[in-house]
Amino acid sequence: MAVAKTLAEKVWDAHVVRKGEGEGANAQPDLLFIDLHLVHEVTSPQAFEGLRLAGRKLRRPDLTIATEDHNTPTLDIHKPIADLTSRTQIQTLRNNCAEFGVRLHSLGDAEQGIVHVVGPQLGLTQPGMTVVCGDSHTSTHGAFGALAMGIGTSEVEHVMATQTLSLKPFKTMAINVEGTLRPGVTAKDIILAVIAKIGTGGGQGYVLEYRGSAIRALSMEARMTICNMSIEAGARAGLVAPDQITYDYMNGRPHAPQGAEWDAAVEYWNTLRTDDDATFDVEVALDADTLEPFVTWGTNPGQGVSLSAKVPSPEDFGDENAKAAAERALQYMGLTAGTPMKDIRVDTVFLGSCTNSRMEDLRAAADIIRGRQKDPNIRMLVVPGSARVRLEAEAEGLDKVFKDFGAEWRFAGCSMCLGMNPDQLEVGERCASTSNRNFEGRQGKGGRTHLVSPVVAAATAIRGTLSSPSDLDPAPESAAIRTDAA
């Protein structure tokens, strides 16, 4: 009888080109084949240069795809990029892709967008694959039951040259989320609660598998939100077993298998489940029934609480390091312990990033704001994850909903998630953001970030203070809150 395996172990074992020799500390790593390599402008230039200096080819251009996202402006995209450093970095990507034969979706192209939105949207991300990118949020693609990892620039070059990666084995952790989410509670709240529970280093050395009835009920876009932030718990990757929801999402996408190949693929994908008698190194449980909207108060994604709670006190933390970290975070965030989270007034709402910029995210936020007024002191940026998402949203009239509300409707890219383009916070500016990192200065020097779900972002834009949809007065025209989204 075959040895019982977890999903992650099955995907790993199916990609071993060569088993590492030796045991223990001096053991060589396994050599794994990489099915899809996603490339963007920031972490690739030195890798391309490395190939050139060594006189090497890019081995599999047909398993490689590039897009422009980190540096791209979200206004005036048809004009030359004003920031010369950014312009050079993007032009370099264009030159490199042309030289090495890599497919590139440039600014202005209908398939351009955040690399982790583009892959799934084109049907290139599929169950059981190994997916890598020089970006830590590559874990997003795990939502399809793929083993997806962020890598460094030397590894980017290694994949370009060999289509493989040398990797040391991982440990497995099950995140079991059972129950039913209440209205207004979303996938973003699940993952923020998971990170608060296990800590920003809790996943180190592990691949997480999200399981349980609450996960099975989620849409693909919601599963992507959860897997996206696996890295915020320090994990090497995070994944969800594929099921009918996965297949329905993929069917008909440009690069999804067709005809007999589709049938063969589904037959294989159906084997991609953790065996009943397989064991995880660690199991963690989260109760979906009692979960509330979650929000961060500090400067790392693990410093989060329920939206109905108060800003914690450093004294609440037993560990001296956590206490000191909380003190520093409160000072940076300009918050006083004991303040109800819902009393915190924000200046800016950012709806976007590889965590929450897909159609369901935009729809969920639009459903909240439709027929309501934005707080006049709030500025709100809506940045679709890809040009394709922007087009689809416009076809549904969502752009009009956001614009009527008073939000800015922007072009696609990473934007204010990391502020490499002009979309940045000012010193002291406070933001409710659907992105993934609330680090000091992440969204702009001195900026203060609270991580939230799209529906909390929308409710906050209406009330001006951190708010959940349940805090809102009934809308003039009844707008259903989607619980399956985001």
Binding site: E49, L63, T85, L124, Q126, T153, A256
Partner: protein, 200 residues
């Protein structure tokens, strides 16, 4: 990657512990698009001080950096290794290296040699008493020679072998190119390809 067997050059005593990668190369330089040309970025904040060791002859022509414990801590930026190499350093001697810096060094052919702190102290004194003294680092015998000092150093077997053979990770993997080709032949036909492009 060039083979590293032995190197002899001017030793630079950097009497400082916990030299983090933000000090080795500040973040402002990470926007560059090349892997080379970072020599001006190396220790750029410290080099504004005329008294800094690299602003003094003959140390400005040094190629063996002799640093305090916990060298290369902090950010994972591979740029720190690139900057040291571009400036002309071939090896760094320290009694303790941060893991990520050590890994990045191995990928880029910069020898991170771990010596006993007592030996580092002896070498510092020698280099300060006789500036311009040559330091020889022999990877075959895992030995450092500086004046009358002969000191052993540590490096893991796997990295040492790769440096001696001049194999970067890519060169090493390509030794198994037949395995990769064989694996590629077994991939199912339904697996996606990015080319030719299919659009929505």
């Amino acid at each position: 990657m060039e083979k590293f067997t032995t190197h002899t050059g001017i030793g630079v005593p950097l009497r400082q512990s916990n030299v983090d990668t933000d000090q080795i190369i500040p973040a402002v330089y990470l926007k560059r698009i090349t892997r080379t040309g970072f020599e001006d970025a190396l220790f750029s904040a410290w080099r504004k001080d005329p008294a800094f060791i690299l602003n003094q002859a003959p140390f400005n022509a040094g190629s063996v950096l002799v640093a305090g414990p916990d060298f290369g801590t902090g950010s994972s930026r591979e740029h720190a290794v690139w900057a040291l190499k571009d400036y002309g350093f071939k090896t760094v001697l320290s009694s303790r290296f941060a893991d990520i810096f050590r890994g990045n060094s191995g990928k880029q052919g910069l020898l991170a040699a771990e010596l006993a702190q007592d030996d580092i102290e002896l070498i510092w004194k020698e280099l300060e008493n006789a500036p311009g003294t040559q330091v020889s680092v022999d990877l075959v015998s895992k030995t450092v020679i500086c004046g009358s000092i002969v000191a052993p150093f540590e490096i893991d077997d796997y990295t040492r072998w790769r440096l001696l053979e001049g194999l970067d990770d890519i060169g090493l993997t390509l030794q198994h190119e037949e395995d990769i080709t064989a694996f590629e032949a077994t991939r199912p036909a339904f697996m996606p390809k990015t080319l030719p492009a299919r659009l929505s």
